[in-house]
């Protein structure tokens, strides 16, 4: 049985200077209530690893707007002009990766691999400062694994064993992030006693805490 806590209790786990991974593709499949509580705690100097910084008044975007994030490791900020403004003014450092590279860096961490070799970015400025490895005449960029102190992820249905099931396009980065952080908190649309094992996408062993959000 996993520990079931409130969104507020989940947010209180996260301290100044923490590195957090936040699942979600824009606002789809994102643990919105935990983020709302995290905004209230006003913890600072967070490093946030996320696919995107969403919209300025939505989920991940709220942490940016509230000046809680000093570094973002992401793939795209185009939907949130506030991230761009803070980047240009020097308030936020933004480290960009191609989406496929970011997800594999996280997967490498979670699966105990020493890194990733990707052809993506060869011939671009993403090569700068990176180790280039040639295999059978083809060049690859070496990327290190990427983990975090906390992963804040979403699940459509979660059971008391921590097993997670999804609907639609809500999986996105949630599955990889669940494997790559010291502490993993899942926000559930629906908490159930026991999922059908055939339906489980993230095995419950990866989950430390469950927040039962419920559906609006």
């Amino acid at each position: 049985m996993k520990k079931i806590i409130s969104a507020k209790e989940a947010a209180s786990l996260i301290k100044d200077g923490s590195t957090i991974m936040v699942g979600g593709f824009l606002s789809c499949g994102v643990a919105d209530k935990i983020i709302d509580e995290l905004v209230k705690t006003n913890v600072k100097n967070l490093t946030m690893i996320c696919n995107d910084t969403s919209f300025q008044d939505s989920d991940k975007g709220k942490l940016i707007k509230n000046n809680q994030v000093t570094k973002v490791i992401t793939t795209h900020i185009g939907t949130n002009p506030v991230t761009g403004e803070k980047m240009h003014s020097g308030q936020i450092e933004v480290e960009f990766y191609p989406m496929g590279t970011l997800v594999e860096k996280i997967h490498a961490k979670g699966s105990g691999l020493g890194g990733v070799l990707t052809p993506t970015g060869i011939g671009t400025i993403l090569e700068n400062g990176k180790k280039i490895v040639e295999i059978k005449g083809k060049k690859y960029i070496f990327e290190e694994p990427l983990g975090a102190d906390y992963a804040i992820i979403y699940g459509t249905k979660v059971d008391k064993f921590g097993n997670v099931a999804f609907r639609g396009t809500t999986r996105n980065f949630n599955t990889s992030m669940a494997t790559a952080a010291d502490t993993v908190i899942v926000q559930a649309d629906e908490l159930t006693d026991c999922l059908n094992p055939d339906e489980v996408v993230i095995p419950g062993i990866f989950i430390d805490y469950i927040v039962n959000r419920g559906i609006d």
């Binding site: 593709f25 795209h76 191609p98 989406m99 993506t120 970015g121 999986r171």
Partner: protein, 226 residues
């Protein structure tokens, strides 16, 4: 020429490009479309052509936008719009999405660009200091797709977007196969860039005058179907 160009409205330009792009797809192709103009090409695909559209946020079999009034918020496209899926569709996570995209399992992708050069390099993810939306899935998609088609206006503020060498930071090096603008279609091959189709509203000289890149006129040059 300038008169004619001015006569083409933004909507007409979009329609010309989208219609021409739509002709590139064959039944059973797996296709990923970029946000904006490329996505409009889907509206012009003939009903007997069965294309499987892929969305980088985790869909094969992407359908039309949901029309409401109730929306299933768990199903969105890469732009965040609520969408439907077609018969045979499936959902997956980002790792699988990029296994599909980077791994060489996409037949064709259509993307916009800020610049494309005559060697097939493309710049689309930032104008340093001014406009930095980021990379998203574009780099992986271009590297991994069997065919890369750029859909864009021929010029921006009267400057050619088809250049000898990209000056903006690259999204990918020598990966573009085809460029479709409102004026012309170019194929980029190891032997150089070829003008293969021309909008009958323009002459070859018009194209030369509005294109910074060096290109050859294909022996098989034909009228662009607009």
């Amino acid at each position: 020429m300038s008169l004619l160009v001015n006569q083409l409205s933004k909507d007409q330009i979009k329609e010309i490009i989208a219609k021409r792009i739509a002709l590139e797809f064959k039944s059973n192709d797996i296709v990923t479309l970029g946000i904006g103009l490329p996505t409009e090409a889907a509206n012009y695909v003939s009903s007997d052509t069965n294309i499987i559209f892929q969305s980088e946020n985790g869909i094969l079999g992407l359908g039309k936008n949901q029309t409401g009034p109730k929306f299933n918020k768990n199903v969105v496209n890469a732009g965040g719009a609520y969408v439907e899926v077609n018969e045979g569709a499936c959902f997956y996570d980002s790792q699988m999405a990029f296994t599909i995209m980077r791994g060489g399992h996409i037949d064709a992708t259509v993307l916009g660009a800020l610049q494309v050069d005559q060697e097939g390099s493309i710049a689309s993810w930032q104008i340093p200091g001014k406009f930095v939306p980021g990379i998203g899935g574009s780099m992986d998609l271009i590297v991994g797709s069997k065919k890369v088609i750029v859909a864009m206006t021929h010029t921006s503020n009267n400057e050619s977007k088809i250049v000898k060498k990209c000056t903006l930071p690259l999204t990918a090096y020598k990966e573009v196969d085809m460029i479709v603008t409102e004026r012309a279609v170019f194929n980029i091959t190891p032997d150089g860039m070829f003008l293969t189709e021309i909008n009958p509203l323009f002459s070859i000289d018009d194209i030369k005058n509005s294109t910074d890149a060096d290109f050859k006129v294909s022996k098989f040059l034909k009228e662009m179907q607009i």
